[in-house]
Symmetry: C2
Subunit: 678 residues, 2 copies
């Protein structure tokens, strides 16, 4: 027996027909909010009068209370508009404009414990929308034990989607699927789509704080629903009193550039709460890392232990010589010798291995003008880490370490926690998701503690990025995707198109510590990487991060002096960034302006299909002549053979408005440095 018709038959009070709508500042995006005949709230989204999202329902199930689904009536609507500019301490661009119209709809629902109120707030920008739920402090629902969100995204057209599976074991570390929207399974966000009519959309979330990450579950056809990351504690989210959910975000644009040059999630995050984070400098770095990833060295003690004092000094010397600000050293600390994977019980974040003199190494680095990048691998055991992290960061501060790479290597769903709340004493171990509420709480606790010690964080195997770098600008980068490391582990492991796919999906979330710069183009056992030499350089421009590794062994970097020179020069901090050529899934060429000079850098990455592109230089300053130093795929270059080493160099003068034809090899790329002549 269906509830729907029964509700109609029982026919209680009629629902008033109050319904709201709000348009983007340019009037092209139109959002409506209403309730249906059963009082179920829903929203719709149009662009240029065409449906982007058809009727999409809103609501919640709770573990211990009646659902927020039916019987709502709209109580109040308020609108607002805002137009402001704010500055990023570091980033793809220095200034961000926040221009939006807002509609807040407050609804009332009767329940057996009294009336319940819920506000849904929409912010509509020219290039996307965000909405969140706001729960007041109310006696009818003093604690929200959320079983799941019922938020829907009922996409109005089929089209193509680029996505990775959600809810599988390997967290976010997958190659991207390109499928019809109607063939998506359970996906993580950002999930990017090109609708049948060419509209580009990407679904994600902003300001994921004290809540569970949202998976994007296709119900049928092109109708999706939020599915919150599970919790072993019952409710997926537990919140007391008043609270706001993260923003559910939808970038909407006519083309790829409109998706990429889009600050929707940053604008929906709160401003900087930390104040001055100048202890963190955008930088390039090398590290004692690739050797372990390839299997030449070990994290654990033994004859091939990577992190020795001697090797550290060698890397510091190289960094100092080649203008790398940082040296990452992994495997420096106790705990790697046993079965740490997905366990992490034995890690110490203060005790170095006997062959690694941490004081001597950091002293040596300081003397050489280089900073050591610390490393805190937890093996996914956040309980063990939370007990020690403050001591770890205190040690870092004392040693002059201002950037720490954290790691949470454990299968998804198997992060070890041991308390119901981050502030409670530790009880039995429980296993949680990398993107569940408990993990989200953990990551912010780490950031806050690190900030107290003037440490910035680069999280690996993290929760996804939802723009929190605006609020916590010491969260400078993270992994949260399949990085270069996979190229060590099998021939062509990432394939020729992965970097392009990252640009249009994962990178919409924020900086990624992808670790480009494997100039030798081989992984372990000599297995080739599906990349040309030029693509390794183009990746520094395609995949933004304020920390950019040159991942290869220093001997291999030195063996490619011209490429190393480019890596030495390319900035990791930008005044402006533009996607000047590209298509989702195909290729991506960026122009980025150095934040600390008048130089521009142009470059990017290609997928498996060779192509000719013509680059325009409209972004250059008029009247100036720039010397362009060009690194590009040589004739016949292809990732498929030894011709992947085929790189061509060129130098020419370029002015604003010039055109430059460029051939991109299969699995290729390009990088150009533009310096204004004096």
């Amino acid at each position: 027996m269906a509830r729907l018709v029964l509700a109609a038959l029982l026919a209680t009070t009629a629902v008033p027909a109050l319904a709201g709508s709000v348009d983007s500042p340019d009037g092209r995006i139109h959002v409506t909010v209403d309730t249906d005949q059963d009082g179920v709230p829903f929203y719709t989204v149009e662009r240029d009068g065409k449906a982007v999202l058809a009727k999409s329902f809103l609501g919640f199930n709770f573990t211990d209370a009646e659902p927020m689904r039916r019987g709502f009536r709209i109580e109040q609507e308020t609108t607002a508009t805002a137009d402001s500019k704010w500055e990023q301490p570091w980033g793809e661009r220095q200034w961000v404009r926040d221009h939006h119209n807002e509609l807040a709809v407050t609804m009332i629902q009767p329940s057996t414990k009294g009336e319940r109120h819920l506000t849904v707030r929409f912010r509509v920008f020219d290039d996307g929308i965000g909405f969140r739920y706001e729960f007041p402090d109310q006696a009818s629902l003093p604690v929200a034990n959320i079983a799941d969100e019922l938020t829907e995204f009922n996409i109005a057209q089929d089209g193509k989607a680029w996505w990775i599976p959600g809810g599988d074991w390997n967290r976010y570390e997958y190659l991207y699927h390109e499928t019809p929207i109607s063939s998506v399974g359970m996906a993580h966000t950002p999930i990017t789509m090109v609708l049948g009519d060419g509209t580009h959309v990407s679904f994600h979330e902003a300001a994921l704080v004290d809540y569970s990450g949202m998976w994007f579950r296709r119900m049928e056809g092109t109708r999706f629903r939020a599915s919150l990351a599970p919790s072993s504690r019952g409710a997926k989210v537990v919140r007391k009193g008043a609270f706001d959910t993260p923003w559910r975000t939808i970038r909407i644009a006519p083309d790829a550039a409109g998706l990429v040059e889009n600050d929707l999630e940053l604008n929906l995050n709160e401003p900087n709460k930390l104040g001055d984070v100048s202890y963190f400098k955008p930088q390039k770095y090398i590290g004692i890392w690739w050797g372990m990833i390839r299997g030449d060295w070990t994290w654990a003690q033994g004859p091939n232990h990577g992190a020795t004092t001697a090797r550290s000094k060698q890397y510091i010397d190289f960094a100092a010589k080649h203008r790398f600000s940082g040296v990452l050293i992994e495997g420096w600390n106790e705990g790697w010798d046993g079965n740490w994977f997905g366990n992490g019980r034995d890690f110490s974040f203060t005790k170095a291995y006997p062959d690694f003199d941490i004081k001597a190494v950091t002293d040596y680095a300081r003397k050489k003008g280089v900073q050591i990048i610390g490393h805190h691998e937890t093996g996914g055991n956040i309980a063990v880490y939370e007990k020690q992290m403050d001591a770890g960061f205190a040690l870092d501060e004392q040693l002059g370490i201002h950037l720490v790479k954290t790691g949470y290597v454990a299968d998804a769903g198997n992060l070890i926690s041991c308390n119901a709340d981050i502030h409670d004493p530790c009880g039995d171990e429980i296993f949680e998701w990398h993107d569940g509420q408990r993990s989200v709480q953990h990551h912010l606790a780490v950031l806050e503690d690190a900030a107290r010690h003037k440490v910035a964080i680069d999280s690996h195997e993290p929760v996804k990025d939802t723009g929190l770098r605006r609020t916590y600008p010491n969260w400078v980068a993270r992994e949260g995707a399949r990085g270069q490391e996979y190229n060590a582990w099998a021939k062509f492991a990432n394939g020729p198109g992965h970097e392009v796919n990252l640009v249009y999906t994962r990178m919409l979330a924020g900086p990624m510590d992808f670790t480009p710069g494997v100039l030798s183009l081989v992984g372990s056992n000599g297995q080739p990487i599906a990349s040309t030499e030029a693509k390794q350089l183009g990746t520094y421009l395609a995949i933004y991060s304020p920390i950019q590794m040159a991942a290869d062994f220093i001997e291999n970097l030195a063996a490619h002096p011209k490429e190393l020179a480019f890596i030495e020069q390319v900035p990791a901090d930008w005044a402006e960034s533009h996607l000047i050529a590209g298509e989702v899934g195909e290729y991506a060429i960026f122009a980025r302006k150095d934040r600390n000079s008048a130089d521009w850098y142009v470059g990017g990455v290609n997928n498996a299909t060779a192509r000719d592109v013509e680059l325009g230089f409209d972004f250059l300053e008029p009247g100036k002549v720039y010397t362009a130093t060009i690194y590009k795929d040589g004739p016949g270059a292809t990732y498929e053979t030894e011709a992947r080493f085929n790189i061509a160099y060129d130098t020419r003068k370029i002015r604003k408005g010039d055109k430059l034809p460029l051939w991109l090899a299969p699995g290729g790329g390009a990088a150009i440095r533009l310096t204004p002549d004096k």
Copy 2:
């Protein structure tokens, strides 16, 4: 950083290469079980040497213990074979053959709490396979708090799938989607597929006892994974000591008949635990029900209250006259007046409304040789029901009621429970899924209590059927799909093809109380039903149940005397059942032999496409002449217009081997009674 390669780098002990396989008795289905390089267990399935399931992983996540995923090695393999026949007290066929080969693989996994053992048992039949996990009582895992099953179904080819969405609000009450397998979202089981090479498969489960129901989640491509129905208590399943999971079942056949004439799940259930259930008689029934569904009458008190003493006697009189054994009476009890939907706090299962004299009605029925069918609507509040159900069944027993329809009308995920375990005292309310472990426990507790009072159960808004009628043969029918009632609520609400889709999906699970026999072919407000007159009769043969309603008002039944005569005659219990013509999604014609006479009945249902079929009668007894009484779509009949009333009658002699051409209208059907001449 990926775990996969790290595990390889850390390279502990090599995994022995013990791997098992087992074939079906006819040798055509081949199953292998093995562990991969990381010790992750998997299985594969082939039919006739072609892959049906590619490498499909097995395992578990727990809320409070390391996952059972990696590091397994095979410890022991045992094989067995079985061939037996067993009798159903009632059913589609009297005798069921259980012929299978078995492989049990016991695996060992090291853990921080000691070695853990897990057995996976496969049973391979000629027409499908089942497998389950068996947990021993072990100190290394004394309680299994299962976060989720990791069982995969990695389908080796794309093809078509027929399915309904899992995890949405309306439980199982959906029209079926027909999509590519690679476009399935989250589905319920049974989910039926026709692979590219024509192989017919259907995925489901058997013996769902003290465990959560399995949803069928597509990860990507044609790879699916079990996703257990959630629990508000944290772990989706909590089991102490030794236990077995339900069987995960895969029917595999070359054609539609092979899917339908298939006793896989019944064979995987335990034998009858209740003994004699002869208090239940397969039957047809009428009821005070359609009037409430249409909105003419009410469940609650008032001027249009349906369940009055007078109307009950009128229905009893009609039943007695027209050979209906049962009269269902809904709305007889207190609790319907308030907001019971999804709440159910005020229901009484012993107190009748003042205008319904339950003693007088049941006495009158007894005198007339008719049995009242009781009704226990819970509004989804199993906590309230569990306190009262024994008193309710005791009352039934005392009044001579031996069949009760139960109801759980609440949105999926909002079944109200109030204790962590069915045997614990009641605490705070919690909200659970209709197919979660708590609900599964509840349904068996109801069955067992009902059996003590000699009551059979017809559950509406139930957990799905997994063949438990073998073990608990008082579980005679259920809803668990979109029934005829939807046809009351909107024009063509179920569409012309729904009954056909039910045959090949939901009906693979077991009997459904679909409630055919709306001979007036209209719902509320005169809205037409997408069915011809003949299809209403054909539905009695297409959709099996040991209880078959004639759902219409008795005045409407009486207005169609010829059709009513067929309904009076058609049995609800069969010696044999065969799908003699049909294609998944298209049409379905059954031949069924009465268990209590030499009569055969042939008939079924069509979808929206008119078609000519030729029926064969090879199943008849040789040498005998049968008189066939035929009800079929008249010329020009179609569900789309008033021509849906166009029915043709015919009588002819038929012998074994004869052919009978038959035209099926759009939304049509047919029914034939074959009686051997004396």
